[in-house]
Amino acid sequence: MVQSLVEPQSVADISSAPALYVKAYRAMLLARVLDDKFASLWRAGKIHGGVFLGRGQEALSAAIGVALREGDVFAPLIRDLAGRLAFNEPILDGVRTYLGSTLGPMRGRDGNVHRGRPGEGQLAMISHLGAMISVVNGVLFARRMKHITGMVGVATCGDGATSTGSFHEALNQAAVEKLPLVMVVADNQYAYSTPTAQQFACRSLVDRAVGYGIPGYEVDGTDLAACLRVVGDAIVRARAGQGPQLVVAHLLRLCGHGEHDDAYYIDPQLKSSALGVDCLKRAEDFLRQQSWADAGTLAQWRSEAVHQVEDAVATVQREPPPDPFTETWSVLATARLAEGNEVNARS
Amino acid sequence: MPHVPIIMPQLGESIAEATIVSFLVQPGDVVEADQDIIEVETNKANMNLVSLAHGRIAQFTVQLGESYPVGSSLGQIEVTKEEAARLGLDTAQLDKARSQSTPATTLSGNTPNTQEAHVQPTIRGLPVPAHAAGAGYMSPRLKARMHELGLHAADLAGLAGSGAAGRVTVEDFERYISNLEKQKLTPASSMRVAVADAMRRSWTRPLATVGMPVLMDRLLAHRKAQVVKPGPALYGLRALAIALSENSAPAGRLIGNNIVHPSAIDLGFGVEVEDGVLVPVIRNADQKKLADLVARYNHLIELARQRKLPLDATGGSIATVTNYGTFGLTLATPIPLPEQNLVLGMGAGRKVVRWDEANEKCVPVTESHLTLSFDHRVLDGGAAGRLLGRVADLLMHPEQL
């Protein structure tokens, strides 16, 4: 059930929306520069644990970020740096989380892509990505109970997470409750090393929408203009009270699962196919075609992005790492219930 | 004809009771098996109870609108013997079960079956060491209490335990202590406590004693000839020093699997002081003649009695000589100090008549007994006897001392 969209508020004609396109492009660019910096910090031994890049998925991600507003909620997948930045995640949050700064939102307790500010609509993923979708449902459910309308929640995941029970339960739940959930699936052809043929047997993941009784849309994930249009429209429809929306983007992961993975298993034919086009390069070509930016402007933007990233990294590298002696090691919000603490003192 | 009870069934998860809503048949009616007979209401739903046999309703024993717990009898159905047999309804058993279905004392007692079930505890044995009797085995709590009160296992020697394998429980212990407190108590002197501590530690070893008589006439004559007369114990000390200088192995101590050999022939001697015994030490007792030791020996006795022994005259000795003869004792089995393997004991001399083979006549002689107590782990009777024999030989040749 792939529906075409003719909506009054849609951004069907992207050529009339250069500002939106440029905003999204610059989020993509900043994400790419920051991701590359993360990779080099990891190779220099400055980052503990894994580094997970969004290379090849920035267009889809940025399209989500620029369509969201304050008050919306976003549960990103691990390759959504562009979307996070576009949805106003401070660049320092990512750097601080990767480097374990105590000034970051996760304070060294969790790292890399596992970050967020749940109170500000940026959910902090757990590793079981399918499990984030029903949490978005919960936020939307609560907003409805509080009679807050006109906001949406976006959850994203890859093709792999669509095989989990959580994904099914949550989409069914959102459909039953008619929640303003936009589920964006980045079908990037591989879940770690597992190709989609081993992940699902339907023609396209968008066919799942029929089973849930919700509309589904497909989009070329390498084309920022298409992503802005399709994702933007899905968000507009959800915001207008039309219930959950499923968007499936087709693209190729242009890197390993993490930086520890050389991705030798990726089919070379896929790399040279239309799916293997670098969305950032394609967006730059489009900007020049439309005369929205010339080579000088693009170089200027890149230079600004590099500056921003270098400033952030330099700042965070001077910040204190977590200290096991000052860490509270307390897990409960209700301090009086901490064992060996107030409970004992009270008796 | 047998009467089969109508029992309130378990009508759902966790249901405890149900209320009688209506009777769908009347006493005297003939009912088929599985026919609805009573309508009841539970917390969850309304439902019908069915007859479990073909028969005639004999009576209902319950009231409309009242609640009855699961398992209670609601009435009886009269059935033929054949029907009861066919359905496996042993009416005698049923009557018995009904009479036993007393109100459950616990929440688990829903049905007669559960009341009868016997459960083997899943806990296994509680291990008690083989030597548990008395204070041979002490629980952590008993050990802690003993430590708190400064007591030792020996203090519980008189206490029979009531616990597993006769162990002393904490209750036994506390009762014992509170009974002791009813008797007259005086604090033991620090000397007493120190001696008790030393003896307790010594007594952890398997101790044995050997003894032999020795003729003392020549020693007494030798002593009489001296200007300053050495005490008999000093003779013994010198004799033991010489014997050990010839072979110090018997003074070794067993630590683990090693014999620790003495590095010097430092010998102590027992001095009775008020409420205890002190042991001054003469260093390198093998290297000075008897005559040269007398003054030192007498001085140390004096210092001991004043409790002013210098540090270099206490501790670190390898054997002790004790002259229990001064108390008129002819025989004793003294206990070596905890850090020593040997204690030489000297009994009181007595005049005895002895057959003189050479002159073929009886002669009066002075005889006393020597004893040597030792750690049997280190020394056997033979080795101990040879050492004691050498000491006796030297005492009978005092000029060699």
């Binding site: 109970m145 509080k146 949550a170 739940q173 919000a333 | 459960v119 509680l126």
Partner: protein, 321 residues
């Protein structure tokens, strides 16, 4: 007037809904039907739009509750049977339990688990799951044994700013009655001395409190005085009250309906042994269900779980040591 354990749970939810507009109830069949056990009977009508049926999706139920909690609401979710909460296990232990620690955003959800075995319930409607949830940091696990505690602790659970696993015992639902709802209560985290004694401490919780009290009564007629400690909450665990009791008696028996491997009884024994070794005059012992799934037939079931009778047997062994 008398009130059952189940009615107390219903009453606590009614009061929580009335007192705090942030509270809502979500679970299978909890709406108009009033819940499989009628723990929410009439609440959907009394509080329109706040007592809502969920699809058979425990994972999504828990996820939704977590999202709502992030938004500042105080959801109560009912798992129809504790056994089914395994489907939501990931959400509870990985999402809810870590949220505050990771992000500083509290996760005040209450997960009601109708737990414990009743006659004829079999392997999948009988489990007691406090141990497995207590194992995870960031979760409060409550195990009320009385009508009064069922009421007061459920009210407190809703107020607590952390995920609470509320283990309500199905066997107590209808069997346990009290004269009235309590007006005051011990706080969560404090154990209760259910019966005072001097010879043996029995530490237990939930339905096993009643089996232990019955056992204590039997042993009383033999001259033994058994002290029964009702933990009330297994996490936080009130080690002080347990230790104080063992200091009086010197002997410890822990009784739990859960399986023997690990769990609350072993945790209590580990703590007493580690921190109170010098209090013990006998090796501490524990009594649990047998290490098999919960059997269906009443004869097997009655022998599978600890009962007053097996507690008496176990207690005698410890007493005679």
């Amino acid at each position: 007037m008398s009130i059952t354990y189940l009615e107390a749970i219903r009453a606590a939810q009614a009061r929580a809904l009335a007192d705090d507009p942030r509270v809502f109830i979500y679970g299978q069949d909890v709406g108009a039907f009033g819940g499989a056990f009628k723990a929410t009977k009439g609440l959907a009508k009394e509080f329109p739009g706040r007592v809502l049926d969920a699809p058979i999706s425990e994972d999504a139920m828990a996820g939704l509750a977590i999202g709502a909690a992030i938004e500042g609401l105080r959801p109560i979710i009912e798992m129809q049977f504790a056994d089914f909460s395994t489907v939501a296990f990931n959400q509870i232990v990985n999402q809810a339990a870590t949220l505050f620690w990771r992000t500083n955003v509290p996760c005040p959800i209450t997960v009601r688990l109708p737990c414990g075995a009743t006659s004829g319930s079999g392997p999948f409607h009988s489990q007691t799951m406090e141990a497995i949830y207590a194992h995870y940091p960031g979760i409060v696990v409550l195990t009320p044994a009385t009508v009064e505690d069922a009421y007061s602790m459920l009210l407190e659970a809703v107020v607590i700013d952390d995920p609470v696993i509320f283990c309500e015992h199905k066997l107590l639902y209808y069997h346990l009655k009290a004269e009235a709802l309590p007006t005051e209560a011990l706080p969560v985290g404090k154990a209760r001395i259910a019966r005072e004694g001097r010879d043996l401490t029995v530490v237990t919780y939930s339905a096993m409190v009643h089996e232990s009290l019955a056992a204590a009564e039997v042993l009383h007629s033999d001259g033994w005085e058994i002290e029964v400690v009702d933990l009330r909450s297994v996490k936080p665990l009130d080690t002080d009250t347990v230790m104080g009791s063992v200091a009086r008696t010197g002997r410890l028996l822990c009784v739990g309906e859960a399986w023997p491997w690990g769990g609350v009884t072993s945790e209590v024994i580990a703590r007493v042994t580690c921190e109170g070794y010098d209090l013990l005059d006998a090796p501490p012992q524990r009594l649990n269900a047998k290490d098999t799934p919960v059997p269906y037939h009443p004869n097997l079931w009655a022998a599978h779980r600890p009962t007053a009778r097996s507690i008496v047997d176990a207690a005698r062994k410890v007493l005679q040591y």
